[in-house]
Symmetry: C2
Subunit: 336 residues, 2 copies
C-alpha cells in the first residue's frame, strides 16, 4: 500500500511539472493557480482512493499482480485531483480557512489580494482548472476495449453525486445518510471500486456487486469520520476535537440528539453549534451530552449495521472477497 | 445555418430531459440546478460556435455534405454547455445580475435564498455540474480513429485558456488582446475550428493552418463586440449602450484612451467607469471622448489589421477557403 501511495505522489508531481510548463507558455501570471492546486494536493497524505481502485481491480481479477499496474496509479492520481477540486470549492462555500494542516486555497488567495470577492473568484477559478486537470488525467487512461465510455461515465457519476451531496448539505436537508452517500461515498468508495473493476474488465454482475458493497461502506466511512472528529484523539486524527460542532455541521450525532433530547435540555449542544469561538470547555460539555443522550451509541450501532450490510453484499457475489474485506477494515476500523 | 441552430437547440433539449430524469433518481432537490442551467442555456440564441465547428469540418473536407453531420450538432451543443458553465461562474465573479436578456443564475439563486453566500455557493455548484455535463456530451462524440484524444485535448485546451483569460481579467492586467484571445477566441474560434477539423480527420498541416487563422479572428471578434457594446444600436445588439463602461471593463477602447489622453482631460471617461448608476448623458459624454481621442478609430483599424492577418493565414494553406471566409464575415462584419 505504501508503494502505491508513493507512486501516486510521483505521478502527481510529474503531472504538475508538465502543467507548470504548459501554463508558463500561455499565461505566466496563472502560475499562482498551479501553485495553489499543487500545494493543496501534495499535502494530502493517505491516497486512500488509489488503494480502493486497486482493491476493485483485485476483487475482479483471478490472479492479480502484486504491484498495481500504472493505470491504477493514474486513476488514483486523477481522483486525488478530483478531490482537490471539490475541496477548493467546498472550503470557500463552507468558509473554511484550514485544510490538511494548512491554509485552504480560499484563505490563501483571500489574504493575498486582501479582498474577499477577488480571492473567492480566483479560488473558484483554481477549482475549475483542477476539475479540467482531473478529467484530462483520467481520460488518458487506457481502459480495456469497450470499457472506456463506462469508465468516463463512472468518473462523471462521481462528480454529479458529489455536487448533489454538497447541494443537499448547503440546503441543510438533514438527510444525513443520503448526503454522506452522495457527497463522500461516491468518490471514496463507489466510484473508485467501479473504476478498479472496469480496469479489470469486470462483468456486469461483478460491477453490480461492487456497487452493492460500496453503498453502505461509503456511508459507514463518513460516520466513522464524524465519530473520530467528535470523540477521536486529535493527535491521531490531525483535526481539533469539536471542529464539526464549531462549524455547525448537521452530523448524524447532532440530528439524533435533536430528535431525542427536548429543546430545553439541549443547551450545551445548541450553544456551540456553528460558533467558531466556542471554548474547549463548552465543546466538552456538548460532547458529553452527545454521549449521555445515546447519540454516540446510536451512530456506532448504525456504523456496525452498515458494515455488516457491506459484508453481506459480498455473499455469493462473483468477487474475490479478501481485498474488499481489507478495504472495509481500512475505511471503517481506523483511528485517524 | 438556421437548420443547424435548430438542431443544436433540439439536442440541448433532449440532453436536459435526460439529465432531469437522471437527477430525479438521485436527488430531487437538485432539480433547481437543472432548471437554472437549462433556462440560461436555452436563452442563448445564435449558437455561433456550432456554425464555427461546421466551418472547420467543411474547410478540411473535399466534398462536404450540405447538412452538418450529427457529430457537429453534438460538438456545438457541448460547447454551448461549456459556455453556460463559464457564464454561470463569470457572472458571479463579475457580480452581473443580467445575462441574455434575463437574470443571471447568480441573481436568481441569490434572490431565491435571500442570502448572498448561499446563492453564490449554489451558483458555483450549478456551474460545476454544467462543466461535467459539457465534458460528458463531448466525450461521447465518435471522432475518427486516432483523433479522439486530440479532440479531448482541444476541449480541455479551450477550458484552460478561458480560465487563464478570466484570471488575467480578474487581475486587471490591461493586456487586452491576450485576454481576449484566451478568454473568448479560445472557445469561440480556435477550439471550435480545431474540433471541426478533427471531425474531418484533418492533417496536422491543416490543423495548424486553422490555428493560425483562428488566433487573429478570435481577438477581432471580441474587438467587434466591444465596438458594438459602445457604439452599436442597442435595438440590434440587445445590450444597453455603455454596459462595458458602467461595468468598468478594461476594453481596448479604454486602454487606448488612457494611454493617449492626459489624466486631466479624461474626466468624462473616468467618471463613468465602474459606476453602474452612470446616467445616459454621462455615458454619451464618455463615448464622445472615445471617438474624439481616436480610440474608436484605433480599435477599428486594429480590427481591420487582425482581419487581414486571418485572411493572409489562409494563403497557400491546405484548406478550403470559402467556409472560413464566411465565418470571418459572420464573426466580424456584424451589427448585433
Amino acid at each position: 500500500m505504501d508503494a502505491l501511495r508513493v507512486r501516486v505522489e510521483q505521478r502527481l508531481s510529474t503531472f504538475f511539472a508538465d502543467k507548470r510548463e504548459e501554463t508558463l507558455a500561455l499565461s505566466s501570471e496563472s502560475i499562482e493557480l498551479i501553485d495553489a492546486i499543487e500545494d493543496l494536493t501534495m499535502r494530502g497524505g493517505k491516497r486512500l482512493r488509489a488503494i480502493v481502485v486497486a482493491a476493485g481491480l483485485q476483487a475482479v481479477t483471478d490472479d492479480p499482480p502484486t504491484d498495481a499496474p500504472d493505470e491504477v496509479v493514474d486513476a488514483g492520481a486523477a481522483i486525488e485531483l478530483l478531490q482537490s477540486y471539490l475541496l477548493i470549492h467546498d472550503d470557500w462555500m463552507d468558509l473554511d480557512d484550514e485544510r490538511r494542516g494548512g491554509k485552504s486555497v480560499y484563505a490563501t488567495l483571500r489574504e493575498r489580494y486582501d479582498d474577499d470577492h477577488l480571492g473567492a473568484s480566483i479560488c473558484v477559478l483554481a477549482g475549475d482548472l483542477t476539475s479540467a486537470y482531473a478529467s484530462e488525467l483520467f481520460a488518458r487512461i487506457p481502459f480495456p476495449e469497450g470499457k472506456r465510455l463506462r469508465a468516463l461515465d463512472a468518473f462523471w457519476r462521481m462528480q454529479r453525486e458529489v455536487f448533489f451531496g454538497q447541494h443537499l448539505d448547503l440546503l441543510g436537508t438533514g438527510d444525513v445518510e443520503r448526503t454522506y452517500d452522495l457527497k463522500t461515498g461516491s468518490y471514496t468508495v463507489r466510484g473508485p471500486l467501479c473504476i478498479g473493476g472496469l480496469l479489470g474488465d469486470a462483468s456486469d454482475a461483478a460491477l453490480e456487486a461492487l456497487d452493492r458493497f460500496a453503498a453502505p461502506l461509503g456511508v459507514a466511512f463518513q460516520l466513522r469520520d464524524e465519530l473520530l472528529g467528535t470523540f477521536g484523539d486529535p493527535d491521531q486524527t490531525g483535526k481539533p476535537t469539536g471542529n464539526d460542532l464549531r462549524a455547525g455541521k448537521l452530523t448524524a450525532l447532532v440530528v439524533h440528539a435533536r430528535a431525542e433530547v427536548p429543546a430545553a435540555e439541549r443547551g450545551p449542544l445548541e450553544t456551540v453549534l456553528g460558533r467558531p469561538d466556542a471554548t474547549d470547555h463548552e465543546i466538552a460539555a456538548a460532547t458529553e451530552l452527545l454521549v449521555r443522550c445515546g447519540a454516540r451509541r446510536h451512530v456506532e450501532q448504525r456504523l456496525a449495521t452498515l458494515s455488516a450490510a457491506a459484508e453481506r453484499a459480498l455473499e455469493g457475489a462473483p468477487l474475490r472477497v479478501e481485498p474488499l474485506a481489507r478495504i472495509a477494515r481500512l475505511l471503517i476500523d481506523r483511528s485517524y
